[in-house]
């Protein structure tokens, strides 16, 4: 451990309180260089508060936090020089054009005008926005604005990029294009820390993740390990016209009952469905699917991720 490079992010007992409200309740996490690490959880889980502390714009209340081996309370400027931040809310500069947004942002990082312009053109092509370079920001689509925000976070060629809910509000096509750009960054060895409340996003992108709920870490690991550890391979989703039979949980499977459907956790959904028919249980609809992180979250907290 000591011979390897320092952690990209290391938090021990990290706590954030606003008055009496505890937003982050003493979490431990360690992100390795080059890793894509996600904070997954519902709204209010403490993801964004954690991101703000890591981006050095929110002082920690308690605990320890180092970013790129540096102390955010004393070396914020040095950390930010090597980091990129994609905030949850778009804060692109509406008074500037697409290209100017990148150029001036590069100036904030101390690049010369010539370097800033060159970098802006590279990033416009990375974000597939070259033909919109001289356009105003406002009329861009949600997906384009996000891509521009991500491009902007890369002007300083950062070692670490923080992305707070990068795809919230985007249509599936825009999300996939964005994921593909994030893969490219990952391949270049950039450490990515992202928050999301989409379990498919966390599964797709993360090497490792933590599931957060009410300011604490519920569990952590790789997506596949978490699924293997907490749930079965498959899930059988059942719908009943008059609600599920009362003895559904008496047959040896773990059952989660949601308002509109019941989930039966079974390694082989087909077998479970056949067995239910033998037991004279006849749902009005059924679906067999692979288990996901959503099921892990449900198993650990008894609640769904996106309410």
């Amino acid at each position: 451990m000591s011979s390897g490079p320092a952690s990209a992010i290391k938090a021990t007992g990290l706590t954030k309180r606003f008055g009496d409200f505890v937003a982050v309740a003493g979490i431990d996490l360690e992100v390795e260089p080059g890793e894509t690490f996600s904070l997954l959880g519902p709204n209010g889980a403490g993801k964004s508060s954690t991101m703000k502390m890591v981006s050095t714009v929110s002082p920690i209340t308690e605990g320890e936090l180092t970013i790129l081996g540096l102390d955010p309370s004393a070396e914020g400027r040095e950390i930010r020089q090597r980091m990129g931040v994609v905030p949850q809310e778009d804060n692109l500069d509406q008074e500037l054009t697409v290209r100017e947004n990148l150029v001036i942002y590069a100036r904030y990082f101390g690049l010369s005008w010539a370097q800033a312009k060159e970098r802006a053109d590279e990033l416009l092509s990375f974000a597939q926005l070259t033909d919109r370079a001289d356009a105003a920001v406002e009329p861009l689509s949600g997906g384009m604005k996000r891509r521009l925000t991500i491009a902007r976070s890369l002007v300083n060629t950062p070692e670490l990029v923080l992305l707070d809910e990068p795809t919230t509000g985007l249509d599936p096509q825009a999300r996939h294009l964005l994921w593909e750009r994030l893969y490219q960054l990952k391949e270049q060895g950039v450490t990515l820390l992202l928050t999301t409340h989409y379990m498919d996003e966390a599964e797709q992108l993360s090497d490792r993740l933590v599931i957060m709920d009410q300011g604490t870490i519920v569990t952590q690991g790789s997506p596949t390990a978490l699924i293997a550890e907490h749930v079965t391979n498959e899930v059988l989703e059942l719908r009943f016209a008059d609600g599920p039979p009362a003895d559904l949980d008496q047959h040896g499977w773990r059952i989660e009952t949601l308002p509109d459907r019941s989930l039966v956790y079974a390694d082989r959904g087909e077998d479970a469905l056949r067995r239910l028919a033998e037991l004279d249980v006849h749902p009005t609809g059924s679906l067999i699917r692979r288990s996901t992180l959503e099921d892990v979250f449900l198993a650990l907290t008894g609640r769904t991720l996106v309410e």
Partner: protein
Amino acid sequence: MTAAMALLGPARHVVERNLMSYRRLWLIFASGFVEPVFYLFGLGIGLGELVGEVEVNGIPVEYAAFVAPGLIASSAMNGAIFDATFNFYFKLKYAKTFDAMLVTPLALPDVVKGEIIWSTVRGSIYAASFLAISAALGLMTSWWALLTVPAAMLVGLAFSAVGTALSSSFRSWHDFDYIQLALQPMFLASTTFFPLSVFPDWAQPLVQATPLYHGVSLCRNLAFGTISINDVGHVIYLLGVMAIGMAITQRRLGRLLLG
């Protein structure tokens, strides 16, 4: 210019951002210069026909020449206040421009400094243009008058800092009405159009308490080359207002943006 910018450190990038955003808005920028010119012609020259001569430090001067330095200081104030209030508030609350800056190597003091300097630049450009017009009309009689530009910068710094301090404490656009409510009487009363001796004894300390009074006095003394030790007091007063305004702005923004 480049050397002066380098002195500002990272705050210069905040100034650059504002210059960039105004490149397409030069007409709006230029419009701010027109108002004091109207006052000069309307009141200074028009009314001056009726008023005749006024005394400055014992020297009789034309009324228009009396008013012109006051308008240099007011131009600096108006230019500075406009950017430090409406534009600053928009960037703070709606555009989230400062949030975007604060995740870069820029720190809060850079942002505050950069914004205040930018508003000052705007006010100073108006003041300098106004000085040029006044000089062309033969209203400036001393070479000391060139120093009204740095004096106007001081006025700009003081009002920018007060403007950002107020804007960062405001809750909604309605609060801006108070600024207008304070600025109009100050503009008229700060010896821009009448000397201090016109005011009754009880009102004189009120006039002298306004930052614009100190700016106008300083510019007027420079315009006529009648500077004295009192002018050091005006400079200190304006610098003091700037320092207090900056400190309040920094504190308020720290609470709003770095929670």
